[in-house]
């Protein structure tokens, strides 16, 4: 089996989402996704911004920070020069995501006089297109280990000798397998609790036990731990894998219909593969214009592409391409080529056995909706946890979930300390300030012991004064008391007003706001 292990070089540009967007090297840029820092520029990191921080924590560490939300399109676009520079060394680049690219070293090694020649060539190529301190280079047997090596590399490239993977990995903490997307963090937590602290500990286990306990993912992690990292790189064995292309008689002048066509092709591909028990992990997406301008890109996704993930990649690629200057005519051809597959480890189907026509129609419509409204504007509800309205279930962008995943269904049980059902039907997106007044017209307040200083008489919402006809509370809440930054102390009050409307109000630091309305 180890004969299938391919000597691989991986280039990682850490914090690419920030690097791609920063104006200059001393731009204190912080990139957020879903409220958390996912990347920051070097300056911001030096000032103490950490990955996973919330916006407030990040701006506290780095007050001059420029906080922006993630822009995948810009990342893809900014990554194109890097790809172009590396394409001179190897034409078979595999792109994990913008910021991570790898290729099979065997060919270039022969051509460029050994591995050092390749590493030097890569470093030189990178120096021409990005500032030289940022990129990290890792070389090892197999794509996953080389990715880990690249993550760990300092300024100098980290080269793991041939056959040295197991030794290199043995002392690494088990958490590293999350960094390279082999196991989920839940899986790793479980391993740690079982006393398996390093990758070497994992390698020492009986592979059969690992398979039984952790399934296919665990088995793969175990193989990698023992140095057998044999996932084929993209574009190694393209024979016999499916490929679809579509030609347009009328050249398409916008990207959306092309993406729409790819949506259909992606559905066909995924169906063809899944009927053969496979799922696509590597994909080559190409498009051509009437003037023979051409784009081709490799995409890789460890957990396999479903149709909507393929469509996402298509949109990133085509949008970036069409926005560049290289396109002077309409699109006449799109092609999807599957270049890497793995056994489909299966997914739990819905209770009634699989995907209905309604599911498929809705999934298709969602892809179109995303194209029309934008990724952030199409959302689905997912279960979360919390005691305030809008916390137990939250809306997240549809592109971040798997629509066919039936386990998304049920919300977490109600947390103790929540106000009992019914929940408000409307929850303002941003806190809406209100005034709660006593009979004498003074602003109501809640004492430290959780008592109101007077009965509420009038509530002013959106400038409209309404008399209170019934009220209940206040219910104090000290949320996340263990978390110095995230803790909140507030009191909640239910009111029914003279127009029959009912609201949940909260007071936090002497300011009243509307938490929800029963309408």
């Amino acid at each position: 089996m180890s004969s299938a292990v391919v000597r691989t070089i991986t280039v990682v540009i850490p914090d690419w989402p920030a690097v791609a967007l920063q104006h200059s090297n001393d731009d204190p840029l912080v990139v957020l996704e879903r409220g958390r820092v996912i990347a920051a520029s070097a300056v911001a990191l030096q000032q103490g911004v950490r990955h996973g921080d919330r916006r407030r924590a990040a701006t506290r560490s780095c007050p001059s920070a420029r906080v922006v939300s993630r822009d995948v399109l810009a990342e893809v676009r900014a990554f194109e020069p890097v790809i172009a520079a590396l394409a001179d060394i190897s034409p078979r680049l595999e792109i994990d995501q913008p910021g991570i690219v790898r290729f099979d070293m065997r060919g270039p090694t022969r051509r460029l006089g050994g591995e050092h020649g390749v590493v030097d060539a890569v470093a030189n190529a990178l120096a021409t297109c990005c500032s030289d301190e940022t990129a990290r280079i890792g070389v090892a047997d197999g794509p996953t280990v080389s990715l880990l090596a690249a993550h760990l590399a300092a300024q100098a490239p980290l080269v793991i000798p041939v056959g040295g993977s197991a030794e290199f990995l043995a002392q690494r903490p088990i958490g590293d397998v999350v960094a390279v997307d082999v196991l989920t963090s839940e899986g790793v937590d479980l391993l740690v609790r079982l006393g398996i602290a390093t990758i070497g500990d994992l390698a020492a286990l009986d592979p059969r036990d690992v398979l039984v306990r952790f399934g296919a993912e665990g088995a793969r992690a175990h193989r990698i731990a023992t140095g057998i990292d044999d996932r084929p790189l993209a574009a190694i064995e393209p024979a016999s894998l499916p490929e679809l292309e579509r030609r347009f008689d009328d050249p398409l002048t916008t990207v959306t219909p092309a993406v729409f066509a790819i949506r259909e092709m992606a559905g066909e591909l995924v169906e063809a593969l899944s009927s053969a028990g496979l799922s696509c992990t590597s994909l080559v997406l190409s498009a051509e214009t009437e003037h023979s301008e051409w784009t081709e890109q490799h995409w890789y996704r460890a957990e396999g592409f479903n149709a909507s993930a393929m469509v996402d990649r298509a949109r990133w690629q085509l949008d970036a391409w069409a926005a560049g200057s290289a396109v002077s005519a309409g699109i006449v051809l799109v092609r999807l080529r599957v270049v890497g597959v793995r056994p489909d480890v299966g997914r739990q189907d819905g209770f009634w056995g699989g995907i209905t026509a309604a599911d498929e129609a809705a999934t298709r419509a969602v892809a179109r909706l995303v194209a029309i409204c934008g990724e952030e504007q199409v959302r689905v509800p997912v279960a979360s946890g919390g005691r305030l309205p809008g916390e137990r279930c939250v809306w997240v962008p549809v592109t971040t979930v798997d629509l066919a995943d039936a386990s998304r269904d049920e919300p977490a049980p109600v947390w103790p300390g929540s106000v009992a059902r019914p929940a408000p039907t409307s929850v303002p997106i941003s806190p809406e300030p209100v005034e709660v007044l006593a009979v004498d017209g003074s602003l109501l307040s809640v004492s430290g012991r959780g008592d109101l200083n007077a009965d509420p008489d009038v509530v002013v919402i959106g400038g409209r004064r309404r008399r209170v006809v019934a009220w209940a509370g206040p219910w104090p809440l000290l949320d996340r008391w263990w978390d110095r930054r995230g803790r909140r102390r507030l009191a909640r009050l239910q009111v029914v007003l003279d127009d029959g409307s009912a609201h949940l109000l909260a007071v936090e630091q002497r300011r009243w706001s509307l938490m929800g309305t029963h309408d």
Binding site: L369, P381, P422, A423
Partner: protein
């Protein structure tokens, strides 16, 4: 006589009964008296107005979604996902979109793929109503328009909620438990208004709609 023989020899079409089954999406039992048709008819627009408009809209569609249809919510950005859960709507078949300026395009996409759609009535300009109504008819979807129907949006069926009365909450005591509300049905397809008193939400029920009965109306504060 020959003509009569012809008619007799024609194959019997069970279409009437079957078609009703397909044309009509079921609603919660408590709501069926409001529907002489037996439920939501595909291709129709239904308006919900008044102080309990959102709760009513969710109650109307819940049964359809439970049965495996998908729900699209357009423009109701502040709708609480938890309220969906309490209405008994499975979250995994719900998608919400904020179309911004491209309402017509988004509505088109939504109506192609979703059988049940809730749209915030405030979004729909006069000029757009006609086009959306046409789409609804041709796609066989059910559209529920929520909120201020004062824009003059002419729907096939118009529900209005009146006189909400909350139970369980007093002056500094109890909490919100249940709401009694009068629901009136009017609109193009309703020659005479129909009125029902409902619990929306009710004290315990998952579907949150319950007829007001003598026993229930004696519900006291808790």
């Amino acid at each position: 006589m020959a003509a009569f023989a012809d008619i007799q020899s024609m194959p019997v079409r069970p279409a009437a009964s079957l078609a009703v089954g397909e044309r009509v999406l079921p609603v919660a039992d408590a709501l069926t008296p409001l529907f002489p048709e037996g439920g939501l008819v595909r291709g129709q627009m239904v308006g919900c107005g008044g102080p309990a408009a959102r709760s009513l809209a969710l109650a109307l569609v819940a049964r359809s979604i439970v049965e495996g249809r998908w729900l699209a919510i357009v423009g109701c950005d502040d709708l609480s996902a938890e309220a969906l859960v309490e209405s008994g709507i499975p979250l995994r078949r719900v998608v919400s979109a904020s179309p911004g300026r491209s309402l017509i395009d988004a509505a088109g996409a939504v109506l192609d793929g979703f059988e049940v759609v809730i749209i915030d009535a405030a979004l729909i300009a006069h000029s757009a109503v006609h086009r959306i109504a046409q789409r609804v008819r041709s796609r066989d979807a059910v559209v529920v328009l929520v909120g201020a129907a004062s824009g003059g949006v002419q729907t096939d069926i118009a529900f209005t909620t009146h006189d909400p009365a909350w139970e369980g909450i007093g002056w500094g005591t109890g909490r919100l438990v249940a709401r009694r509300v009068r629901v009136e049905r009017a609109g193009r397809r309703t020659p005479r208004p129909i009125t029902r008193d409902l619990w929306l939400p009710a004290q315990h029920s998952a579907i949150d709609v319950e007829e007001v009965t003598a026993a229930a109306s004696r519900l006291r504060m808790v």
